[in-house]
Symmetry: C2
Subunit: 228 residues, 2 copies
DNA sequence: GCGGGTGCTTGATCTTGGTCAAGTGATGAC
DNA sequence: GTCATCACTTGACCAAGATCAAGCACCCGC
């Protein structure tokens, strides 16, 4: 009965909660696209033809094309990118490069712009998703403006896991040099910082970090018990 | 015939293009609130009761309460803040402090959340406004991560005016120390940077900047003509 | 008038993190 | 196999900008 692409749509947070009719409308215009690691899905300055929602694999949003590259954020399965550009029909501000092989649902931007004016459920859901993105970016700006390199690395580690205590291991969402610019530091500084975190139980093994006790990392960043 | 608060709603970009029925629904729940310079409209961590849209005057969004304050962005007449928190019903991530006296339209957050699920025009408009905000924040992140203090100040000056050449004068959107942290630098550094920009025709007089030729500032920031 | 608070500037000094350069290890082309 | 490339690390050095400390100018209350 239901469209073959609906199950894919269900995997994407942006669409998961939409009612059946909305899903069907989207399913009709959506297409599934494979991509391979290190390939570019789109480049800064291009006109947005699609909204990208990841079913599998991940990408990294990179600002600035030439020498000065800065990672804005990593995105993985279930997330959508560049809703903003697609909705406004303005050129992408960033590049998207795949960090792994994967597949994405592509929704034609023109169709999306049309649907959003007709479908409350979709429009409201877009607004909520964009709201979440807004908050993530605000946090990042706060972070960069008020915390040191070591604190940012610590916070990044904490953000990568849901656990608040005990041992954790996880893979970095991209190459170390990408993680570095995501944090607003150089690869060299990240390397040194990770080494200095060894004494707090952080061990790097390739692109996997082993944390012996996440609460020790958290203590680095919490305001140390103040008087007053 | 029309509600007395509709003309105020018309002044706000978020609402200006909405059809009459949507405006009326909003007008019924909106309230006008005066605020005075330096007062806090809300503080970080509070539950969002309202969406704030400025009819007159401006505010500054400040992250971090204690010692480490960092300005996230300035907002003026016609703009709306914390749509994100209001829509999601999550605590504010930032403080809002008035930079001048003014008045704001307050839309109860609960009502807004209800309306957005029923009113396509409103929902779509929220999504578009949030999209614009997203792009502004992305630009700021790029800026901080890839440009030096001098370039950031130059870009800030350029962003404050619509003109692309000739002389300009404009008032800073807040105190110098606020502008400084907005740019991710200290007040001292801003002061020194402005002085070093004197030779490029930038003159500070109180909170007003006089630029003798905006294109000279622009040339500081454009990639100097590269070979290749 | 005077005194105190505040925002801004200026100078001297320090520190963080960036830059430059060299070296290692893994990977892949041939 | 060799060689090149590339991510990453490490070390030595450097510089942009932060911090610390005065000093100035303005405003407001008294």
């Amino acid at each position: 009965m239901t469209h073959p692409r609906v199950p894919y749509l269900k995997k994407v947070a942006l669409f998961a909660d939409l009612p059946e009719p909305s899903l069907l409308r989207l399913a009709e215009v959506a297409g599934l696209q494979r991509f391979s690691a290190q390939s570019y899905l789109f480049r800064q300055g291009e006109e947005p033809d699609f909204l990208y929602s990841f079913v599998e694999g991940g990408i990294v949003l990179v600002a600035g094309s030439g020498e000065k590259e800065a990672v804005v954020e990593f995105f993985g399965p279930g997330e959508s990118v560049l809703l903003a550009a697609a909705l406004l029909g303005l050129p992408y501000l960033v590049n998207a490069r795949a960090t792994t092989d994967g597949q994405a649902l592509l929704i034609p931007a023109a169709k999306l712009r049309k649907l959003i004016d007709e479908d409350v459920a979709l429009a409201a859901q877009c607004a909520r998703t964009l709201s979440r993105h807004w908050r993530v970016l605000i946090s990042q700006i706060k972070e960069i403006k008020t915390h040191s390199a070591l604190e940012r690395v610590a916070n990044f580690i904490i953000a990568q896991t849901k656990k608040t205590k005990g041992a954790v291991s996880f893979a970095l969402p991209g190459m170390k040099k990408e993680v570095a610019t995501r944090l607003g530091i150089t690869p060299e500084t990240l390397s040194r910082t990770l080494r200095s975190l060894k004494k707090y139980g952080v061990d790097a093994e390739g692109d996997t970090l082993h944390i012996s006790a996440i609460e020790r990392i958290a203590s680095l960043v919490e305001t140390p018990p103040e008087a007053t």
